[in-house]
């Protein structure tokens, strides 16, 4: 319990900054929605005069982008980028900082098992991410309903926003596993940014190829927002895939942390 509270306090400021910047990003982008929707409307008229085949190639996509949910799902990509960085950074730094700051032998000499240490740290990270998501979701709903020009599907909006939490959990688990794989991690941020941006760029490269097994490679593709808007649910296969990734990473982290050689100062 002490460890849990201590970690919560240690990461309080960082979490507040992350939450504020994610909310700020949504606010900034959503503020542009009304003017954007106007532009898109004008373009739809041009589109109507185009040959049928061309319209079919991109028309549907544009139709969905011009709506509030479509625009939000585009912005959401950048929110989830920030969220992923936050989560992975949290996961890998919360475990590796003891070694880095030479406090590992102090902590490990306490009368707690290594399993208890890992669990309190993981719970603290989970709590912080939950708090981030609650604040973010509240703010995003407020912003969305204030800029909406016409009623939108609130259920789909909630599902999209909720996928932030799932994505963050995946990256939290990846971060924990990374901290165990690279025991002498000197700085967390380069590893984090490298991994997250590599996945992020893969998303862009993969997105033009459409469906296929390639989507399983990058977590940013797991919660396809177009699918959520259309069907009002997640794709089962990808939810299963994320649960598997989380479970495997956490299990690996737990087993490795219990038996790992921790250097004294």
């Amino acid at each position: 319990m002490n460890m849990y509270l201590y970690e919560l306090k240690a990461y309080r400021n960082a979490t507040m900054i992350w939450t504020a910047s994610m909310t700020g990003l949504v606010l900034l982008m959503m503020a542009m929605y009304p003017s954007f929707a106007g532009d898109a409307e004008a373009f739809m008229d041009v589109l109507a005069s185009m040959p049928e085949s061309v319209v079919q190639a991109i028309g549907i996509q544009i139709d969905s982008i011009a709506s509030l949910l479509g625009y939000y799902s585009y912005i959401f990509l950048y929110v989830s980028l920030c969220g992923a960085i936050q989560a992975m950074h949290l996961g890998s730094s919360i475990l590796s900082k003891e070694t880095r700051e030479k406090t590992a032998d102090f902590l490990l000499a306490k009368p707690v098992t290594r399993g208890a240490i890992l669990i309190s740290k993981a719970l603290a990270a989970l709590t912080l991410l939950l708090a981030t998501n609650i604040v973010y979701f509240g703010a995003a709903s407020l912003i969305a309903s204030s800029v909406a020009l016409e009623p939108y599907d609130y259920g789909a909006f909630a599902l999209i926003s909720f996928s932030l939490l799932l994505l963050q959990l995946i990256f939290l688990a990846i971060g924990i596993a990374a901290a165990m794989l690279l025991p002498r991690m000197k700085t967390v941020l380069p590893v984090t940014l490298g991994t997250v941006f590599a996945f992020f760029v893969l998303t862009f490269i993969g997105s033009s190829s459409g469906n296929g097994k390639l989507r399983y490679v990058t977590p940013f593709h797991y919660f396809d927002r177009a699918y959520i808007i259309q069907h009002g649910s997640y794709e089962t296969g990808f939810v299963a895939a994320s649960l598997v990734i989380i479970a495997v990473c956490l299990l690996f982290g737990y087993l490795r942390y219990r038996s790992r050689d921790v250097h004294a100062v």
Binding site: F43, I65, I85, K186, V201, I205, S208
Partner: protein, 263 residues
């Protein structure tokens, strides 16, 4: 000179990983071009009429994605992002790691002025950034050359890479200045990453809104907009501005580091 060699060796592994990463990205990204080519012409006509915001959302802008160089321009934004991450991380880390690893004392008692120390580190970082850029340049020319028939687009790639170098210089020196002159060397890497991320998000916001172009001055990603650079090369104003930012960052770095208390 010893310090220069030491820094080169210390960062060799991460540089190699980065280079492998960008080459893979380049190859994978351009591999997608084959599919785009056929539908390109019809798409282009339509794209030209699109509002700016929609173009930005589809990642296309004013580029002609039917040609290899135009498609490369779309990819360029992400390559540029990777280069910026590399440069800002390297700049902040190369200075702040001495204090992080508690080797600052050891280094500062050497018969070496702080100015020379910074110079060696700066040179080492510059060399690595240059290597990154040259690898990207040759890689791009080779990959795009294999798709292009007829006229070569080496000139456009050359000016894109010159633009990338400017952006790398900005983020490298700003990162070094944050670490060298700031009060919290331990958090320097985080601050430097935050600056880089903020400017990237700002450049996306500018593209989507289409009404706040004047904000472009604040984000280096906007200085080397792929469509404009392929068309007319780098704007002289933006080139001067980038060099100016670099110079200011260097002055801050040298002035700040010389009078700072080490932790």
């Amino acid at each position: 000179m010893n310090l220069y060699r030491r820094e080169m060796r210390a960062h060799l592994k991460s540089l190699l990983i980065w280079i492998a990463g960008i080459i893979a990205m380049l190859a994978a990204g351009m591999g997608k071009f084959t599919g785009m080519e056929e539908s390109g012409a019809a798409m282009n006509e339509l794209m030209a009429d699109m509002p700016k915001a929609l173009q930005a959302i589809m990642g296309i802008g004013e580029l002609d994605i039917g040609t290899p160089i135009g498609y490369y321009g779309v990819l360029f934004l992400y390559l540029l992002l990777m280069a910026a991450i590399h440069a800002s991380m390297l700049g902040a880390a190369i200075i702040s790691k001495e204090e992080r690893d508690k080797t600052a004392e050891f280094l500062l008692v050497k018969p070496l002025s702080r100015g020379r120390l910074l110079l060696c580190k700066l040179l080492a970082a510059l060399t690595q950034v240059l290597i990154f850029n040259l690898v990207m340049l040759t890689g791009s020319i080779l990959v795009i050359g294999s798709y292009t028939e007829g006229e070569s687009s080496a000139g456009a790639i050359l000016s894109l890479m010159a633009g990338m170098l400017l952006v790398q210089l900005i983020f490298l020196t700003v990162g070094m200045a944050i670490a060298g002159a700031g009060r919290h060397p331990k958090r320097a890497v985080a601050y430097s990453a935050a600056v880089m991320l903020l400017t990237f998000l700002l450049s996306m916001a500018i593209k989507i809104s289409g009404h706040i172009d004047y904000m472009g001055v604040f984000t280096p990603f906007y200085y080397v907009d792929a469509a404009a650079v392929i068309d007319q090369g780098i704007g002289a104003g933006y080139a001067l501005l980038s060099l100016g930012i670099t110079a200011v960052a260097l002055v801050v770095l040298f002035a700040g580091y010389n009078r700072r208390d080490m932790r």
